[in-house]
């Protein structure tokens, strides 16, 4: 069983929901990321979603775009990101790590080269925002070869027949994008989320995590009532960026992120059945 499947199963047995923080690797600097990952685990992260910085992050809102820009300004490459996870694994062999990014850096490295390096580093899954099922065959074959999960997005605009196609190819969990928009947008509609999760579950027995638009314990709890996991990204990236903008050091920035994550952990655990 993959680390991701194992984690969701263990949580389900406890009646708890997965908490999945998203950070941009190399934001604010490369040296912070590994430490930040450990601290997120201490604060209650179940799975860490590590954003691979890209020059043209088309699905990101302004907060995460700036995170990508800061990471690139510090010279963060895809190789660096893989190395960071490898370093993280020296102390933590239990927490699943998935990379989220855009097609080009992965394609440029070569799907086979990437998958070999990622699997060796202990990376559990890949989510490429701009590789829909129509384009996934080449990268999927390599992910299967090294036994990594492939995380697909399903959107409010995804019709039933596509949900079925995606459900067939997805491994690990399914990521439901809670709204039409970019990351960090603020118009989450829980009835709509519930409606779509029901549809997804009629096609797949995989856990479903929900992301985009979850910014605090309250919004996380609303979603956790119906989903198997919640992804929190922009709110964490923003908490760190704001701390630094106000003169705080990286330690203060990490603390800002972890205290937000702890409060969300507490919130969703209060729902535990």
């Amino acid at each position: 069983m993959s680390r991701i499947a194992g984690r969701f199963q263990a949580l389900a047995e406890q009646g708890r929901k997965a908490l999945i923080p998203y950070i941009v690797a190399g934001d604010p600097t490369r040296e912070v990321t590994v430490q930040l990952m450990h601290r997120l685990v201490e604060a209650g992260a179940d799975i860490i979603e590590v954003g691979v910085p890209f020059s043209d992050p088309m699905s990101e809102g302004p907060v995460i775009q700036l995170g990508h820009e800061r990471a690139l300004a510090d010279g963060t490459s895809l190789r660096n990101v893989i190395d960071m996870v490898s370093q993280f694994r020296q102390q933590d062999n239990a927490t699943p790590v998935l990379l989220m990014g855009y097609a080009n850096p992965v394609e440029h490295m070569g799907y086979a080269t990437f998958c070999d390096a990622a699997a060796a580093a202990g990376i559990d899954a890949l989510l490429t925002v701009d590789i829909p099922p129509e384009e996934v065959e080449a990268v999927n074959a390599e992910l299967v070869r090294v036994d990594m999960d492939n995380i697909f997005l399903i959107a409010p605009t995804t019709p039933d027949d596509r949900i079925e196609v995606i459900a067939r190819q997805a491994r690990g969990f399914i990521y439901y994008v809670s709204l039409k928009g970019v990351t960090g947008a603020g118009h989450l509609d829980v009835d709509d989320v519930t409606f779509h999760l029901d549809k997804i579950r009629s096609h797949s027995s995989l856990p479903v995590a929900v992301g985009f638009g979850i910014k605090d314990a309250a919004s996380a709890m609303t979603v956790a009532r119906v989903a198997d996991g919640v992804v929190v990204g922009s709110a964490l990236v923003n908490a760190m960026a704001q701390t630094i903008e106000e003169g705080g050091d990286t330690e203060a920035a990490i603390t800002a992120a972890t205290s937000l994550l702890s409060s969300i952990r507490e919130g969703i655990d209060s729902l535990a059945s």
Partner: protein, 406 residues
């Protein structure tokens, strides 16, 4: 070319997945996939629909002013020496460039789909102006995304768009040019996909855009073919067009692709020179990758990050190119070459003074290469250059380079 390339070959692209060989495709976020499918289905239906085609043809004739003339630049040809040079006068279209051929078509699609709002990205501002124009005519809300750097260097077009009732949104992310404007337009589309039609201005983006923009722009080549036969009694020996995203070039080239005897040259922006990294010539100096929804040649670094580009012309200042051009390069049907900033500027001045036609700086790249090419040919041969746009919008840039304060 090694073997005869038939019309059949060119009719097979894009395939049903939107691929031109290994290029093209649909590399976008899931949220947009059903909108693309809906657009493709409607386009396939309407492109075979007589009423739609009639409405499009009428718009092109009476609103855009087609057909555009094929003009023999005799004085300029004499100065250059060698082949006869003809100019396909897309600068005489309503709004002053070839861009309107496509916006008229896509706006009709938007109307048939019942969308109340259109968005567009723009570099030089020509596509933005063409979109704002057609939006004004159809009473559609219009938002145009434009890099902050381009807002500065194309101030005249920015004001034109505002006069037409469009909202111009300056984009401050990344390199603040065309590629960033396209990112921002995609972000808007993903947010407002229910009521918004994204009018992409070039033959790039996810399928079906490279196909439908090509089809709408191919009117340029179809007319050129008829005009060449009528005016000269033969097909052109060579076609020359500038290539940023590549819409005016594909529009001119496409109807001639199966004509072996017609040589084709796509001219990329060499900027300060392709050896400097200060250019916008992905076909000449780039490698294949994925950006803005398609696989194509890109300017990228060793880590797959998209590089900043440079060109004196905002409309060519783009790190990618339409996927069909990538395919045409690989199969060897079209030659892709470069003209640098200074060569384009010289051609701008030359055509202005000798023919009384002021070309856009984008177009001037094609003219610069045509000068070199003509000199290697004979007076019995003819070249058609796509005069893709007029240069009024660039007067400020040219004056600045000449050290004048306007």
């Amino acid at each position: 070319m090694t073997s005869k390339m038939t019309q059949e070959l060119f009719d097979t692209v894009p395939d049903c997945d939107g691929r031109f060989g290994v290029y093209g495709g649909k590399f976008v976020a899931e949220t947009l996939m059903s909108a693309l499918a809906e657009l493709e289905a409607l386009y396939r239906k309407l492109s075979a629909d007589a009423a739609f085609q009639r409405e499009l043809d009428e718009d092109l004739a009476h609103y855009v002013g087609r057909p555009s003339p094929l003009y023999e630049a005799k004085r300029w040809s004499n100065k250059v020496g060698g082949a006869r040079i003809f100019l396909k006068r897309e600068d005489l279209n309503h709004t002053g460039a070839h861009k309107v051929n496509n916006t008229v078509g896509q706006a009709l699609l938007a109307k048939y789909m019942g969308k109340r709002r259109v968005i567009a990205e723009t570099g030089a501002g020509q596509h933005g102006v063409a979109t704002a124009t057609i939006a004004a005519r159809l009473g559609l809300e219009c938002h145009v995304f434009m890099g902050e750097e381009d807002v500065r260097r194309q101030a005249l077009n920015v004001y034109r768009m505002k006069l037409l009732g469009a909202t111009v949104v300056p984009v401050t992310s990344g390199s603040r040019t065309l590629k960033d404007a396209m990112n921002e337009a995609m972000r808007d589309w993903v947010t407002n996909v229910d009521d918004t039609f994204y009018i992409i201005g070039t033959v790039a983006g996810p399928h079906p855009y490279p196909m439908l923009v090509r089809d709408f722009q191919s009117v340029i080549g179809r007319e050129t073919r008829v005009q060449s036969l009528a005016q000269v009694g033969k097909l052109p020996d060579a076609l020359v067009a500038c290539v940023g995203g590549g819409s005016n070039a594909i529009g001119l080239f496409h109807p001639f692709l199966a004509d072996d005897e017609v040589a084709m040259y796509g001219v990329e922006a060499g900027g300060h020179g392709v050896s400097t990294n200060q250019h916008a010539a992905p076909l000449t100096a780039g490698t294949p990758g994925i950006l803005h929804g398609n696989r194509t040649y890109l300017m990228q670094d060793a880590d797959g990050q998209i590089m900043h580009t440079h060109s004196v012309s905002a409309g060519l200042d783009y790190p990618g190119v339409g996927p069909e051009h990538s395919w045409l390069k690989d199969i060897g049907r079209v030659n892709y070459v470069v003209a640098n900033d200074d060569e384009a500027l010289a051609a701008f001045h030359s055509l202005t003074r000798i023919e009384g036609i002021m070309p856009a700086l984008e177009t001037a790249h094609a003219l610069a290469y045509a000068e070199k090419l003509a000199a290697t040919m004979t007076p019995e041969q003819m070249i058609v250059v796509n005069l893709s746009g007029r240069g009024d919008k660039d007067i400020h840039t040219v004056a600045q380079i000449d050290g004048l304060e306007m």
